[in-house]
Every structure is written in structure tokens, then in C-alpha cells.
């Protein structure tokens, strides 16, 4: 472990002093973070470790990275993972076309360089003076990972849905994540100027490797509790009537208790709140809910299941908000 401290890594300039500061910063960027989330960010900054963010779809995993970048005023570099993603798409690629073009252009100049040399070895020696001209940074097309390491002020690197990528790619990420460096065979090792803040998200479609997990902090974001969800909705839909807010949050929370194929996520709660505000709803009636249920639920079977319980759910939601 000791060699890690020898690395010439400039300390991350963003160093929140407390968890509360993280919470405040994120909330200024429009993200209401729970205490765990704020703690994860706080620790990630101090320990310089990537965070694996897991949780059901739509609880704000990607949003967290965006808000973080916004708060810290760092560029957000996003890499979407998919099956078959490889180094040339994630790290770097040579600009083949440019290389080819330049060789064509320089063809005529070559005689002026080696023109007066008598034999092959002398000519080669002269060529060697220009050695790796075609394999230099000028011909390198940086992809997200390299870009993130190259950012002069650091960056927020979002590696989205890492579970969709192959296991090989995961192994390839290890060097980047633990030492903040990558090795390009033709150039050498590129070390981050300022280590980026890395977030990896996963929907747990497969288990991540132990090696990867060991190098990261692990944050599990679940559906928020009613109070947090209410705060989130208020921050995203500012003009919402507090009584409607209580009703709709209560309704969504109850809906998640049902046995659904895909329970409504926070983003869907926000969408629904927008819809209800647009419809000037004040009291959650069965009729309104039935008409707008497809905003919350995305499967036919789920909608059918919810409709059976509809009046019980809306009734309870209304009672909780204190409207008859």
C-alpha cells in the first residue's frame, strides 16, 4: 500500500470539511441527499476512492453524479457501459485517418530528410531522430477515461451501468480506479493530474467482481422514506401544494408496498407530481389517479394490480394529508 502514497498525485482540491457541507452543496445543486449519500461523497473525497452506487432504477444514481459535478463546478465525463465495450471506446484510440493522411503528405518530404545518406543504416538513423511521431499525443483520440485523467482541475467521472459491461472490462478498470492511471503501450503510463471523483452505477443485473468492490466504497441507494421523498419532490416541482404533496407521496409509498414488477421510482414520482400540478389537482381522486397511473407504472400487469387496490390507497393517502 505504501507505494500508493509515493505517486505524484495532487490532492483533490475539493475537500468538503463536513457531511453537512456536502448535503448543503448537493441540495444547492438540486439534489436532496440522504445522510448516507452525503457521507459517501464526503468519504470519497477524503479517501480518494471511487463509489459504487447500487440500487433500483430511477432512485437518482446518475442524477447524483450530475449534481455533484454541478456543485463542485467540475466537468462531468460520462461513460455509458454496454456489452462489448472495449479499451478503444473507453480509453483511447489512434486517429488512424490522420496518421494515414500525414504519412501521405510527408511521403514527398522524406527524400529531403534521408536524401544524402549513402546507405540504409544511416538513413534509418536519421529517421530515428523523429521516432514515434505518429504515435504521440497528437494522434491520440482520448476517450472518457483518458479525458477524465487529463482534466486539469479534476472531473467527475460517471461510469454508468457498469454491470452491463463484460467482466474483462471490469478488470481493465481496476488500474484506473485504484491508481488513477492508465497505460497506453505506445506512450507510457498516464497519471491523473488531479484524481477524478469516480462514480460507478450498477443496477445489479450481475454481481460485480470482488476485486472491483474491494477498491470502492459501496453505496446502496434505496427508495427514499416519505419525508425525504417529499423534500425531493418539492425541490424539483417548486410550486406544489403541500397537501397534494403529502397525498401523492403517501400514495407512491403505498404503491411500492404492493407486489409489482417495477415499483415506481423517484423520477416517476416527480413526473407524476408535474402531471398533477398541470391538471390543477388538489385532492387525489380515484378518477384522476386512474387516468394518470400510467405515468407511475410502466407495465400493464402492474397497472391492473394497482387498480384493484386503488380506492384503499387513495383513501389512506387522503386521510394522511387530512383531506376528507
Amino acid at each position: 500500500m505504501s507505494n500508493k502514497s509515493d505517486l505524484k498525485v495532487v490532492a483533490n482540491p475539493v475537500m468538503p470539511t463536513s457531511v453537512a457541507e456536502v448535503e448543503a452543496g448537493l441540495s444547492a445543486a438540486g439534489y436532496i441527499a440522504s445522510r448516507q449519500i452525503a457521507m459517501a461523497i464526503h468519504l470519497a473525497c477524503h479517501l480518494q476512492k471511487p463509489i459504487v452506487v447500487e440500487g433500483p432504477a430511477g432512485v437518482g444514481k446518475t442524477e447524483l453524479a450530475k449534481s455533484l459535478a454541478h456543485w463542485l463546478e467540475l466537468p462531468l465525463i460520462r461513460m455509458q457501459c454496454y456489452e462489448g465495450l472495449d479499451e478503444s471506446k473507453a480509453l483511447y484510440e489512434w486517429k488512424y485517418g490522420k496518421q494515414l493522411l500525414y504519412t501521405q503528405i510527408l511521403k514527398n518530404k522524406i527524400s529531403s530528410v534521408i536524401g544524402d545518406s549513402d546507405d540504409l543504416s544511416v538513413a534509418l538513423g536519421k529517421l530515428h531522430q523523429f521516432d514515434d511521431i505518429f504515435f504521440s499525443r497528437d494522434f491520440l483520440e482520448p476517450r472518457p477515461l483518458l479525458k477524465a485523467l487529463d482534466e486539469p482541475r479534476g472531473a467527475v467521472l460517471l461510469i454508468d451501468e457498469i454491470d452491463k459491461a463484460d467482466q474483462e472490462f471490469e478488470a481493465f478498470l481496476l488500474e484506473v480506479l485504484s491508481d488513477y492511471q492508465v497505460t497506453v503501450p505506445e506512450i507510457g503510463t498516464v497519471v491523473a493530474r488531479v484524481p477524478p471523483l469516480v462514480l460507478l452505477t450498477s443496477n445489479s443485473t450481475r454481481d460485480l467482481g470482488d476485486a472491483l468492490k474491494r477498491r470502492c466504497l459501496h453505496l446502496h441507494i434505496d427508495f427514499p422514506d416519505p419525508r425525504l421523498e417529499a423534500r425531493i419532490v418539492t425541490s424539483r416541482v417548486p410550486g406544489i401544494d403541500p397537501r397534494l404533496l403529502t397525498q401523492l407521496v403517501s400514495f407512491v409509498q403505498q404503491l411500492r408496498q404492493l407486489d409489482l414488477r417495477k415499483p415506481p421510482s423517484v423520477s416517476e414520482t416527480i413526473d407524476w407530481a408535474r402531471v398533477l400540478v398541470l391538471l390543477h389537482t388538489e385532492v387525489l381522486g380515484d378518477e384522476t389517479v386512474r387516468d394518470t397511473l400510467n405515468v407511475l407504472l410502466k407495465f400493464e400487469a402492474d397497472i391492473a394490480a394497482a387498480q384493484n387496490e386503488l380506492s384503499t390507497l387513495t383513501h389512506r393517502a387522503r386521510r394522511e394529508a387530512g383531506v376528507a
Binding site: 500500500m1 505504501s2 502514497s5 457531511v19 445522510r35 448516507q36 457521507m39 459517501a40 464526503h42 468519504l43 477524503h46 479517501l47 476512492k49 463509489i51 459504487v52 447500487e54 489512434w94 488512424y96 485517418g97 494515414l100 463484460d166 467482466q167 474483462e168 450481475r206 454481481d207 467482481g209 470482488d210 468492490k213 474491494r214 477498491r215 466504497l217 459501496h218 453505496l219 446502496h220
Partner: protein, 462 residues
């Protein structure tokens, strides 16, 4: 296990002693914590400090627990450790301090432990015992047989010898008040012994679990599947999942390694036409390796049901390495259970399957015939068919003709029999008659057997 010293940035070692012990406890409940993670935990602790318990819990949880199930384990360990009250000695319940008959009334100077007991000094006794506990290294306790030994060691360290000496001397003095004092001290000592014993038991509960767990797992791997007690079921499930995952990742790796082949010249040329045929992008010949399609027929009658259950659990945990699993359960007749298994966790699904057809007497002939009627079209030359059963058809026609057709159609036909080969073919067992049609017949009644049988299947495939 000790934490490597993480360099000079850390303050004294002692600050981290509670954390180090907590890591032991966390390992005891089954978390896998590497030394790198221990160091992270220390660094996290440096950031948040001990002052706020909720913060500390969040911070360590982020570092140590890496899956939802691990989070639950972690919560348990954290609560258990930090709620832990160390040594508890209630002493004597007296409202008035015994200043009147306080030490000093006798001429003798008593040992410190005796004095503290007499004056009912709870804090003093507790401190003495805890110091003694640290000195004897009670956190190294592993087995319940050690509790007596450790209790005695702690007591000795805390000054049991001197105390007994005092009591002895008092009794020998023959003075009535001294005898009373001695009686009193004896009573205290008894209470103290019990308290220490409880304390050591608590320590065993916290620190002794790791090894016991390992021992139990090893035993379970080779235990007969039909005789697993209800108590061990949960552990078995996690074990099955672990073994399957290991197998899956190993298999996935070999499958991919073989994808590196020779250069595919034609495709490379076509791909690089844009650069005048200079091969910038290469394309390699790939050997396509099929993931096995597996079709499982499980006997769910009587004693075989347990083995079937574990096989199904195993196969569904292998999802990564298998492309397509189709499962059927049969006893007297056959039903398709794939959908049921897809929808529910295997354990629940098994229960509902057993409700439907379980514990009927098995009729292999009938089950096979039904299978041929309705589902034979699912069997292709790429399918591996696995049958789990004891081949005891209660004397019914074994329908070898159907079995032959099944064998011809499928790529491989594997029979896993929970019975010992010795009893194959005895009584109503038709195993020997089915055997010639199978490509592989295996005894399978422990997790290890299961692991090997499936492992071999995957290996042959690649």
C-alpha cells in the same frame, strides 16, 4: 488477524484497537474483509472519528459492506459490537454504603480485589476485570470449551489468588466477625465468578464465530442433501449460491479465453477498405462456443425432492453461464416449472411445486411419456438433459423406448442419482436399465457431488 500498520500518518495504535476488534466481530458474522479494506476503515475512521455513532456506522458501512445482504450482516455486527456492554458486575444491592464495617475495621490489609468487593466498588472491579481480560487476550477465544479456562485466567489476573488468601486467613483467625466477613467475601466471589463467566460467554459469541462458521460450512458441503436440518437450510442456500457463482465465473472466463483465435483475413480486409487495405483494425477468427441449453427433469417424490431442490437452486444461480434453463418436475406426472422458478425465488417455488405434485409415488414411465407428448420438441441436438431421480418407478413400465428417443434427440443425457451405486438395480430401481442410454451417470447426494457434476458438464461444453 492483525491490521498491517498503515504508515506514520496514524496516531497511536491504541486508538484503533476498538476498530480492530470490531473488524474481528464483523468477520465473525460472515463479512469478508480484506486487509486493504481494514486500512480503508481506519482511514474512514480518521475522517469521521468516534464521536457520532450514526456517522461512524454509515462510514464504516460504505467501506466494509459491499452488497445488500452484507449490509444487513454489517448492521447486525455493528449493533452487537457497539451496544456491547463489557463486563457487568452488579455487586450487592445496598442502598447504604457499608462505611460502618468498612475496611480497616480489621487489622489485616486486604488485597485490592478484596477491598473493592467489600466496599462494593463496581467501577473498580469492572476496571480490574476488563484490564485482566485484555491482559489474557480473551478476544482470541474460539471454542466453547475454552470458556472455563479463560474465566479462570481472567480471575487470576484480577487477583483471585490474593483474594482467596484473604478469605482463608479470615476463616483461620477464628474471630466471629472475621468469619462473617469471610462468608460475605465468598458470596461476592461467587457472584464475581458468574459475572466473569457470562462476560467470557459473550466474548465467545462475538469472536468465536468465524472458525465455527468455517467448520460448519465444510461439514455442510459433504453432508447428505436429504438430511439437512431446517436450521442449516439458510446457510446451505448461501453456500449453494457461492459455489454456483464460483463455477459460473470460472466457466465464463474459459469460454471467453477461447474466443481469441487466428486473424480473420477476409473480415480484416473488408473492415480496412477505407484505409486502402492497411490493416489498422484487425478482426480475429472466433470459435463460437455455445452456452449449454439445459433441460432438467426433477423427481420430486419423497427423499429425492431435496436433491432436486438443490440442483434447481444451483442451476438458477448459474444463470450467467447457462443460456437457457427449462425445468420440469415429475412424480406420478410431469409439470413445467420454469415459469414458477423464474418468477419466485427458488426456495419458495420449490415449496409450491411440492404442494402441487410432491410426495406422490413416482412413475417414471408415465412421466417420460407425458414429457414426450407435450415437450419433446424443446429437446434439440444442442440440449443437455439432466435427470435427477432414484429411478424407482414402483414397478411401472420404465418406457425405455421414450427414454431412448430422448437420448437420441439430445446432445447429452445426464442422470444424477442420489442413491449409492450399490443399490442401483435392486428392488424396483430401473437405474441399470436406463443407464445404457445416458451419456453420464453420477451419484449425487452432497453439495460437492453437485458442484462436480455441473462443473464437468460446463467443462465438456467449452
Amino acid at each position: 488477524m492483525s491490521i498491517p500498520d498503515a504508515g506514520g500518518s496514524l496516531a497511536g495504535r491504541s486508538t484503533f484497537e476498538p476498530l480492530r476488534r470490531f473488524l474481528d466481530v464483523a468477520r465473525g458474522v460472515g463479512l469478508r474483509i480484506s486487509s486493504a479494506e481494514s486500512i480503508d476503515a481506519i482511514r474512514a475512521l480518521e475522517v469521521v472519528g468516534y464521536s457520532d455513532k450514526a456517522f461512524l456506522k454509515d462510514a464504516l458501512g460504505l467501506v466494509l459492506a459491499k452488497t445488500p445482504s452484507e449490509k444487513a450482516l454489517y448492521d447486525e455486527a455493528f449493533e452487537r459490537y457497539f451496544r456491547r456492554e463489557g463486563f457487568l458486575w452488579s455487586g450487592e444491592d445496598r442502598s447504604d454504603p457499608v462505611a460502618s464495617e468498612a475496611p480497616g475495621s480489621g487489622s489485616r490489609v486486604l488485597s485490592s480485589l478484596a477491598q473493592m468487593l467489600e466496599s462494593n466498588d463496581r467501577v473498580g472491579v469492572t476496571a480490574a476485570v476488563e484490564a485482566a481480560a485484555v491482559a489474557t487476550g480473551v478476544q482470541n477465544i474460539r471454542y466453547f470449551t475454552q470458556t472455563g479456562l479463560y474465566s479462570l485466567r481472567i480471575l487470576r489476573q484480577a487477583g483471585l489468588g490474593e483474594l482467596e488468601g484473604d478469605i482463608d486467613a479470615m476463616e483461620r483467625s477464628g474471630l466471629p466477625e472475621e468469619t462473617v466477613r469471610a462468608q460475605r467475601l465468598k458470596g461476592h466471589l461467587k457472584g464475581l465468578r458468574e459475572a466473569v463467566r457470562t462476560f467470557v460467554d459473550g466474548q465467545l459469541e462475538m469472536f468465536g464465530r468465524e472458525d465455527a462458521e468455517q467448520f460448519r460450512e465444510d461439514r455442510l458441503k459433504t453432508a447428505r442433501l436429504s438430511g439437512i436440518s431446517q436450521r442449516d437450510m439458510i446457510r446451505m442456500r448461501t453456500l449453494v449460491r457461492q459455489m454456483a457463482r464460483k463455477l459460473a465465473s470460472r466457466y465464463a472466463r474459459t469460454r471467453r479465453r477461447q474466443l481469441r483465435g487466428q486473424l480473420d483475413v477476409r473480415k480484416t480486409m473488408r473492415r480496412n477498405v477505407g484505409w486502402g487495405g492497411v490493416p489498422f483494425l484487425t478482426h480475429w477468427k472466433q470459435r463460437k462456443i455455445e452456452k449449454p441449453r439445459v433441460l432438467v427433469l426433477c423427481d420430486v417424490s419423497g427423499s429425492v425432492a431435496e436433491v432436486s431442490q438443490f440442483l434447481l437452486m444451483f442451476l438458477y444461480a448459474l444463470n450467467e453461464a447457462l443460456s437457457d434453463i427449462h425445468s420440469f418436475a415429475f412424480a406420478g406426472s410431469t409439470i413445467d416449472v420454469s415459469e414458477l422458478l423464474d418468477r419466485q425465488p427458488v426456495e419458495e417455488a420449490i415449496a409450491s411445486i411440492l404442494d402441487k405434485i410432491g410426495f406422490q409415488s413416482s412413475n417414471y414411465g408415465n412421466a417420460l411419456a407425458e414429457f414426450e407428448d407435450q415437450w419433446m420438441h424443446l429437446v434439440t441436438p444442442k440440449t443437455t438433459v439432466i435427470i435427477v431421480g432414484d429411478a424407482r418407478g414402483n414397478g411401472a413400465n420404465p418406457r425405455l423406448d421414450v427414454f431412448n428417443r430422448l437420448s437420441m434427440r439430445s446432445k447429452r443425457l445426464i442422470w444424477l442419482n442420489p442413491e449409492h451405486p450399490f443399490s442401483w438395480g435392486t428392488g424396483d430401481s430401473d437405474m441399470n436399465r436406463y443407464m445404457p442410454f445416458c451419456s453420464l451417470v453420477r451419484v449425487c447426494n452432497t453439495l460437492q457431488h453437485l458442484d462436480r457434476a455441473i462443473g464437468d458438464m460446463l467443462k465438456q461444453q467449452s
